[in-house]
């Protein structure tokens, strides 16, 4: 198995991506990688570590795409950037199975959408991050970045693709899928949500549990939230922002009184465990669903451990033939002409 790694664009530079990949290669002997970035910088990092040279290639593409680049301009004008070069190699070479990047999300979404073919029958690929739930599980949000304006059929496809992803990558046997809405009742929401609800209810082999409200996201009662990218993106950032601000306030309050500080000392281990529990880096990156090749996007601030987790995630998806499974499930959902 071969995975191509875009080494530039993350806050921690090529070091995090290269060292994370080397860790993955030590664990998985069937893994080869191609690093795309500044070959001199990559070479310097590689020299510091023992590595299997026969399983590593380097492509020199030292230009970086960053968050200030407009996505479609980056795709067409920065063709030789590490990100766009990696996407093209992924598209053109049969021996490359997947890609990992921690670079600018919008540019990656545009590049993958424009250059990687879609699985047959898929209308639009979706972008699906994973969050930890309060019961120790995970929940996916599909879509959270690819398509701001969607149809009911697209939402149905997100549900199908997301379900297959959770089965393959997280071994969730019968993922509970919910439609993000402004209330739980069946008649809630705009026409899009009403139409999508009916489609989802009638989708074979889908464990659709109905509408959900945003506050239920982390409850542990849902495995996959289906929505348009605008709603999904707002949802995730609201959750992140709430968690961060709450933690800041708790910390501030602890330091405000001596008896709180003493109490906190006894709970220090618990706080450390909760911090680790909420560390997104443990849960993997966001994945593209619906493309013929596997692409995983790590957080921009990913360290080597997070990159290792993203590569492991990509490897799992490839080994379990997720693209084929999605293709079969999508084909099954398309009404035949004689129906």
């Amino acid at each position: 198995m071969k995975i191509i790694i875009d080494c530039l664009g993350g806050d921690n530079g090529a070091r995090a991506t290269v060292e994370g990949a080397l860790a993955a290669m030590r664990k998985f002997e069937d893994l080869s990688v191609i690093f795309v970035g500044d070959e001199k910088e990559i070479g310097t990092i590689l020299k510091e570590h023992d590595h299997a040279e026969s399983r590593i290639d380097v492509i020199h593409a030292p230009t970086m795409v960053d968050g200030n680049d407009r996505p479609m301009e980056a795709v067409r004008m920065k063709r030789d950037s590490s990100m766009m070069r990696a996407i093209r190699e992924l598209r053109d070479r049969e021996d490359i199975d997947g890609m990992v990047s921690v670079g600018a999300t919008g540019c990656l979404i545009a590049g993958v959408t424009m250059m990687i073919p879609r699985i047959g029958g898929v209308r639009r690929p979706a972008f699906c991050p994973i969050l930890p739930t309060m019961t120790g599980g995970i929940v996916g949000v599909c879509d959270s970045g690819a398509n701001m304006v969607v149809s009911a059929e697209q939402l149905q496809q997100y549900a199908i693709m997301g379900s297959q992803y959770l089965k393959a990558a997280y071994k969730i046997e019968n993922p509970r899928v919910a439609l993000l809405n402004v209330g739980k009742e069946e008649e809630k929401g705009d026409q899009l949500r009403l139409d999508a609800f009916k489609l989802l209810q009638n989708t074979p082999d889908l464990n659709f549990v109905g509408n959900m409200e945003a506050r239920e996201l982390l409850s542990g009662e849902i495995d996959l939230t289906v929505c348009d990218a605008f709603s999904g993106n707002v949802l995730i950032k609201s959750v992140e922002g709430t968690a961060l601000e709450l933690l800041k306030k708790i910390k501030k309050d602890i330091y405000s009184k001596s008896q709180y500080k003493i109490g906190a000392l006894f709970m220090k281990k618990m706080f450390m465990e909760e911090k680790e529990f909420m560390n997104y880096q443990n849960y993997g990156g966001s994945v593209f669903l619906g493309t013929e090749k596997t692409v995983v996007k790590g957080h921009g601030s990913a360290d080597r451990k997070a990159v290792f987790v993203c590569i492991s995630q990509a490897r799992r998806m490839i080994r379990r033939h997720l693209t084929e499974e999605i293709g079969k499930a999508i084909e099954k959902s398309i009404p035949k002409d004689d129906e």
């Binding site: 479609m72 067409r76 004008m77 063709r79 424009m114 250059m115 879609r118 209308r123």
Partner: protein, 75 residues
Amino acid sequence: MFEEVKELLVKQLKLKDASVIRPETKIQAELDADSIDILQLLMALEEKKGITIPDEDLVKFVTVQDIVEYLEKIG
């Protein structure tokens, strides 16, 4: 030029029968292509020809012949 564009269309849209593509064929209406298919096709042409098609020109392509004539015009 027509044959080049036809070959790319067949590959892009995974068409089983290339004979459906004629110069007057409407790409979206008759070949079931959507906007992403068109953009991917035009990007593939940009890469192949080493050209950049201005954004405002991307919306002008309705038939296969529109693309062929455009490419012939820009040489």
